[in-house]
Symmetry: C2
Amino acid sequence: MVNLRIPGPIPVPDDILDKMSTQMMNHRGPKFKEMLYRITDGLKQVFHTENDIFVLTSSGTGAMEAAVANTLSPGEKVLCASIGSFGDRFGKIASVFGADVTRLNFPQGTAVVVDELRRVLDANPEITSVLVTHNETNTGVTNDLEPIARVVKGEFDKLLLVDGISSVCSLPLKTDEWDLDVVATASQKGWMLPPGLAFISMSERAWAANEKSTMPRFYFNLSEYKRYFDMGQPPWTPNLSAMYALDYALTKIVAEGVENVWKRHADIAQMTRDGIRALGLEVFPDDSVASNTVTAVKMPEGVDADELRKHVLQDHNVVLAGAYGELTGKMFRIGHLGYVSTEEIEQMLDAIKASLPKVGIGV
Amino acid sequence: MVNLRIPGPIPVPDDILDKMSTQMMNHRGPKFKEMLYRITDGLKQVFHTENDIFVLTSSGTGAMEAAVANTLSPGEKVLCASIGSFGDRFGKIASVFGADVTRLNFPQGTAVVVDELRRVLDANPEITSVLVTHNETNTGVTNDLEPIARVVKGEFDKLLLVDGISSVCSLPLKTDEWDLDVVATASQKGWMLPPGLAFISMSERAWAANEKSTMPRFYFNLSEYKRYFDMGQPPWTPNLSAMYALDYALTKIVAEGVENVWKRHADIAQMTRDGIRALGLEVFPDDSVASNTVTAVKMPEGVDADELRKHVLQDHNVVLAGAYGELTGKMFRIGHLGYVSTEEIEQMLDAIKASLPKVGIGV
């Protein structure tokens, strides 16, 4: 049995996986309409919002493009506060679609420093919008989103677009209370689902930006999603199978209580970090910013993380994730989002422990 | 048991549906790489091509956007030859992304007239590219693509983008023999799969256009798909579940033989048209252009097609499709793509027959 410990796709619980084999229905019929409205109500509870939420047939990257292309215009001044590869991607999407992107980059393994953000916004009053990643999957760092939002929205009154792909449903995020304008996330994360769906929320402020936005959009045109939503339909044929599974998974999430789901993620993450340190390994970021959905583990100087991953996979059937970009080979990453048992974490820690001598680390 | 007779999503055979519940794997690991390459080989057989083919996580509309955004530039002169709503959509995508679109519209229920196409291309030498729908799902008309391609490519040497969403794998289409530059299609059609994946082929000529193309693209950036393909990966997390099902369905399609799949579609379509006429109803297009994947049925003057559909659904559990746009209420549509049994067509015809008196038609 494979122990899939990458930060998505996550192992899907059997009862949810079963729903993926549900037979097709008419996506323009009354039963679909009921399902779409029920799903949307569930999503709103998890997002902690009364804003519109749409279900897209895409990966999370598609939802990031939707966030950008539906609210910004070519030439518009935008700030991208990045703490890693996925933050950089958000800025790149905006710049590919013509925005004038100012980049505020923080060192790998650290989070956004609010005072820096304030300084840049203060010095660049022409900036209209801020792009930020809630949880940087590549470094295992979670930004403290609430104070970031207080600066961006409360102090400067800018539009705030949030990549919540590896955070929503796993980490505390309160869309309305924190006044987040657009939040994008994807199914193969805390939602306990296969990949293939993305979810995006739009505040009134985001809709106002949408009216002025001139970036081209068709497949991800959220106005069309809104228009069709009133008929209980999506504009294009949706990933029905994953919607059946989502419909079911949401009943479980709501029954458990979203706050309890957050707590479950925090507990399993703590167990993971404690276990990694007990092996004499180093968690890459500081505890104050370490993510509760993905743990990045730094290798001692001269040890190849990908070599360790190979042994762990070959000898123990545990799949760890590598790191992107300049961190490749220097770190490995452990995904612990969705439903994760303590046994799975223990088996993974045992597998790492047994493999350390093979890369020259004595335990 | 519902008899889902819409032109996608189609009823998925049980053995294929079962594959949707396969557990997740690492989409950046060696097993995925094997699957991606195996799938791509199968797709090439069905497309009849040696061109690159990519698997997108989107609906067919996403693949239409990919076709446009990867090959055209804002301001570029493009001809959209449309025979209905989906043809119009193709032109609209191009114009949303900034192309200068000339529209050549043919009457609803008819196909592209090649002499007209030739006349417009001759009169507008600045046109670089032609958009055309192979099978217009809204009117049940199939364009004769081979002579269209001979004019566009052979006589005028333009780039040819084909919406093959409701045709590829169901109707004869030979990408290389007919020299089609871009062909886009989607999983919930003849492929016998749930919705959630789209497939797109790119010729060398299309890649040459891609190099000069300046339309913005990120999620649908096919250069990124190509770059990652060499590593056996997709750039973004894919709809794994539908890929498992596709992997399996392709073995069935290839074993049956693509030509036999086309023949099967032709036979079941003929049975459908014969049955509709035996009920005294009229097939909307002429036999010479009638589609073998979807049959559009015209109602007698004064009879509401949607009223008939309601009775057929309520009393017999048969789901027929309505028509879009100006044809709403005047026609209904029958989907017969993917795997369809003669029993399903018979049951549907019986259901329509029994419901005709309820809308005032004596049989």
